[in-house]
Structures are given as structure tokens and as C-alpha cells.
């Protein structure tokens, strides 16, 4: 609850800050201060010290898992602010408002990680999405940004419609007439047809949010068109929040009858892995490539939904951290570049050796090479899936797709180290020592989680 309230409050503070802040650079520091406070408050709540005592009537449920997830997300956001805070200034003049919207998104994130009724799921998802529609279009005079924003908005609204229809059907189908997600849980019996239809609609709507195929079509265009710094935020933090909501919902409401809808998840996973990985291979723009790669990674994260066991819950947290850290790091570099194509990375190994090394670590992590968090995350996902015991072929298919993913991630690595730099492009990237150090910290975190995943996982059982 601390997080929800504080993020909302800080969003309001930032909103008013837009009026009072004289310099464009000030909001960044306020935002960093805010997120630090929120992290601290959240950790406090994790250890049982609530600041705000609110009776939610059971509509929100703060367990160790959701609070822990919040902490991870906020820490990622902090790192994101530290790395890319200045890039908001490039979008336009409303820097403070951008931050304010980000905080509202974070409010949505904290809601979807702990919702207990479909109503709050719906509200959370909307709070998460609406600021993002705006942020996507925040580069107002950029037609790509306009286009992305419109596409995102229309499709997002459409998926909201699907989701609401699903909720309505589920409401009608369960005899209790309840929106509480644990009340929907019907045990292992046969799925009533109304609930089955509602489930499919919810699955589709949530798949849309987490960019699983074939509901992923908005992703490449929106990620590509949005200002890079916004892309970094929404492709990482918002997306993993979507996953948490997804899993939360399906585990509590439909977990017991998983066998009746697992096939759908299998189809979605297979399609997502295939489309994400294969399409990414041909992309020339790193930004767009990362968009496809985020689809591909979503395929892996969907395994948590496929398996729905403890390992999957552990894995999704790890995956959230690993994927977010690496992507934030990469996007922060792209945000500094004038050329998003792979050629933009040419010779980075020579001009920016430290950055090159950290980027390589990020890419290796995304590929899933051991000693990086990406590996442990994938490992947990695969383990969860194998533990589930069904559809081993899907796991094998997934690892083959992971191998395909090496193709496009390594194209960037090849550009960094084995290609000669093109002098005119990206000659003077504004790289500060602080930026470098934060990169190193992120890389360090990735490796740390690669060696000791327990650092993240153990807290679930605190």
C-alpha cells in the first residue's frame, strides 16, 4: 500500500513541480529522490512496517511476492532514472510531467502486482496504460511518435474492450457473482462455458499487454516510434508488471483447472517464441530489434504461466530483474545515439571500451549465457516448464529459439568488437563517468544474479 500511495503522491508532486521548477534538469533529481523514498517505504512494508493503514476490503493483497516484486521494479526504475533521466529532456519541455506520468505508471504497477479483484486489475492496467499512451506520443512533433501513440492507443483500447468482455463473462459464469479472483477459482471441475469464454478473452487481453503473439503487433511499431527513453521504460518495467498481473490472475483464479487451458498457453508460447526470434533476425535497427527481442523474451516469461509452480514464480522474478536490467542498460546507450541501426554500434569497443563491455554483458545476459542473470532466469523458466512435465517438445523448441536469439544479439556484439568504427556516426556520445559507473553497477548486478540467483529468489520465502 505504501508504494501505491507514495507513487501517486509523488506523481502529483512532480505534476505540480512542472509549474515551479525553473530548470529542465531539476525534475530528474526530484524523481530520483522520490523513487528512493518509495523503495525505502516499500522495503519497510516488506518488513511489516506500513506507513498507511488502509482497509482495502480485501481488494488488494500484499504478500511477500508482490512486495518483493515491487522492490525489484522500483530498483530497476531507480537505475533507469539514473541512466536515462537526462534523456527525458530531449523529448520536450514538459520534463516534470513526464516524470509525473512515470510515477503514475508505477502506481499502476504496484496495483497490478497486488490486486485481488478483477476491478482493481482493470483499473491497474488502465493506470498503467493511459500514461503510456501519452508518453509514447510525448514527442509531439515527431510523426513516428504520433503514429506509435495512435496505434498504441487504439489497440490498447480495443484490448481493454476484450478484457472487459472477459470480466463480464466470468462474472456471469461464476455462481458467486464475485469479482474477487480467488472466488472465481472453481477447483478442478469442468470449466463452465461462460468462464471458458471469459478466460480466453482475458488471456488475449493480457497477452496483448505482455506482447505475446499473435497479439504482439503493436509492440515493434510502438517501441520503435516512442521516444527511446519511454521505450526503455515500457519495454521493461511495465512489461514485467504485466506478466506479474497475468500470472497473479491466472494462478489465483484459474490455477486449479490449468490443464483445461494449458493448450492455449502452449500455442501462444510457441507462436511468440517463433515470431519474436525469427523476425528479430532480419532487423537492422537495434531499437526495433530489441522490440522483437522483447517479444521473444516474453515467450520465455510465458513459461511461468505454462507451469504455474513455485519454480515458475521464482523464475519470473528473476526473469523480470534480469531482463529489465539488461534492456534498460541497452536502451540507455541507444538513447544516447543518433543512429539506431546496428552500424551505430560499430567500433564501440574502441571508442567506449567500458560501455562496450557492459553492453556485451547485457547482450550475453539477454542471450542467456551462464554467469549472467539472463541464464539463471532462463534456467528457472525451463526448469519450471520441465517440472510441469507436459510438452517437453515446447521446452526444446524454446531452447532452439534461444539459440536463434544468439544470432541477433551477437550481431550487435560483432558490431561492437569486430567492425571498424564509422567515424561520423555517434562520434561524440555524451557519456559521463557517472553513466559509465551505473552501467558497471548494472553489469555487476547482472553477473551477481547470474552467480547467486538466491539473492532475488530467497526473499519470496521471507
Amino acid at each position: 500500500m505504501n508504494a501505491i500511495i507514495l507513487t501517486a503522491i509523488w506523481g502529483v508532486i512532480m505534476m505540480f513541480g512542472g509549474v515551479f521548477f525553473k530548470k529542465n534538469t531539476t525534475p530528474k533529481y526530484w524523481a530520483i529522490a522520490g523513487i528512493v523514498i518509495i523503495i525505502v517505504a516499500n522495503i519497510f512494508e516488506f518488513f511489516g512496517h506500513q506507513i498507511f493503514h488502509v482497509d482495502t476490503k480485501g481488494m488488494l493483497r500484499f504478500d511477500a511476492f508482490s512486495l518483493h516484486f515491487n522492490t525489484i521494479v522500483f530498483i530497476c526504475t531507480l537505475l533507469f532514472f539514473l541512466l536515462s533521466g537526462r534523456d527525458f529532456e530531449k523529448i520536450g519541455i514538459h520534463v516534470s510531467e513526464y516524470f509525473s506520468l512515470i510515477f503514475f505508471v508505477l502506481c499502476g504497477v504496484s496495483i497490478v502486482s497486488s490486486f485481488n479483484t478483477l476491478l482493481l486489475l482493470f483499473l491497474g492496467i488502465e493506470i498503467l496504460s493511459i500514461p503510456l499512451y501519452i508518453l509514447t506520443g510525448s514527442d509531439k512533433r515527431n510523426l513516428k511518435s504520433n503514429e506509435a501513440s495512435l496505434k498504441y492507443f487504439l489497440m490498447g483500447a480495443f484490448s481493454t474492450g476484450l478484457m472487459l468482455m472477459g470480466i463480464a463473462l466470468i462474472y456471469g459464469g461464476n455462481s458467486l457473482g464475485s469479482f474477487y479472483i480467488d472466488a472465481i477459482n472453481l477447483g478442478t471441475g469442468h470449466l463452465p462455458v461462460l468462464i471458458a469464454a471469459g478466460l480466453v478473452l482475458l488471456l488475449v487481453a493480457m497477452s496483448f499487454k505482455v506482447s505475446a503473439a499473435p497479439f504482439h503487433f503493436w509492440v515493434p511499431d510502438v517501441y520503435d516510434g516512442a521516444p527511446t527513453v519511454v521505450t526503455a521504460f515500457m519495454s521493461t518495467i511495465v512489461k514485467v508488471a504485466g506478466f506479474i498481473a497475468f500470472i497473479h490472475l491466472f494462478q489465483y483464479s484459474f490455477g486449479a483447472m490449468q490443464s483445461q487451458w494449458q493448450t492455449l498457453v502452449v500455442i501462444i508460447i510457441a507462436a511468440t517464441l517463433l515470431i519474436g526470434n525469427v523476425t528479430a533476425v532480419f532487423q537492422q535497427s537495434v531499437k526495433r530489434m530489441l522490440a522483437y527481442s522483447s517479444i521473444a523474451q516474453a515467450g520465455f516469461m510465458m513459461f511461468a504461466l505454462f507451469a504455474l509452480n513455485d519454480t515458475a514464480r521464482e523464475g519470473i522474478l528473476l526473469y523480470a530483474a534480469a531482463y529489465s536490467l539488461a534492456s534498460i542498460g541497452l536502451f540507455s546507450v541507444i538513447a544516447k545515439m543518433s543512429d539506431y541501426s546496428i552500424a551505430g554500434f560499430n567500433g564501440l569497443g574502441k571508442s567506449q571500451p567500458t560501455l562496450a563491455l557492459t553492453c556485451t554483458i547485457f547482450l550475453l545476459s539477454l542471450t542467456g549465457i551462464p554467469l549472467t542473470a539472463g541464464f539463471t532466469a532462463k534456467f528457472y523458466m525451463l526448469m519450471a516448464a520441465v517440472k510441469d512435465g507436459h510438452q517437453i517438445w515446447l521446452v526444446i523448441f524454446a531452447v532452439i529459439c534461444a539459440a536463434i536469439s544468439a544470432v541477433y544479439y551477437f550481431r550487435v556484439i560483432q558490431a561492437i568488437y569486430f567492425k571498424e568504427p564509422t567515424p561520423e556516426i555517434n562520434a561524440q556520445m555524451p557519456i559521463t563517468p557517472a553513466f559509465r559507473w551505473i552501467h558497471i553497477i548494472i553489469a555487476g548486478l547482472i553477473i551477481l544474479l547470474g552467480i547467486l540467483p538466491g539473492l532475488v529468489i530467497d526473499w519470496i520465502y521471507y
Binding site: 476491478l119 510523426l143 504520433n146 503514429e147 468482455m165
Partner: protein, 109 residues
Amino acid sequence: MEIKWYLFLSIALFCIGMIGALTRRNSIIVFMCIELMLNSVNLLLIAFSKMHMATVNAFGTSMATSAQIFVFFIMIVAAAEVTVGLAIIVMMYRNTHSIDINFLNRLKN
């Protein structure tokens, strides 16, 4: 009336809205179609709320209430969405003098 007629009606409205969203290129009309879809959901929810009228929750209120409140929230959200959506459409119109959803087509492949 049997509940099924409401169900079919709202499905019909939902699908008509969907067909509109699929076939029209005017972004405002597409948006209106989506609103139509939301309204069909509202109708369905209220129909179901009547069905669950007898069930009472832990707080002593009828389960029908929760659905009606839900509809209320849907309306809130729809209003917010409309604000943002129209702002986006207007912004695009300012830049391109078009509200055709296919007019801007820089992002593809």
C-alpha cells in the same frame, strides 16, 4: 426475459463494434466503435447483475451492486480514455491534417 437474450444482444453489439474497428479507417469512428464495445460490456454486466441479485457478499451487499459499480468504473475509465484518445487524435491531426489510421505508416516490418 431470459438472460441469454441479453447475452446475445451484447455479443452482437460487441461484434458490430469490432467489425467497425476492423473496417473503418477514420480513427474517430474506430474509437467510437470501441466505445460501442465497452457499452455492450456494460449492458452484459448489468444483465448479469440482475442474475446475481440474490447472492450477498461478505459485506452484506448484494453481488448485483458490485457489477453495477464495475459499470460505473468502466464509464470513468472510458471518459479518461476518451480524453487521452481525442488528445492524441487531435495532436496527430495538427501534424498531418488527417485522421486516417493508415495515413501514418512509417513504422512497419
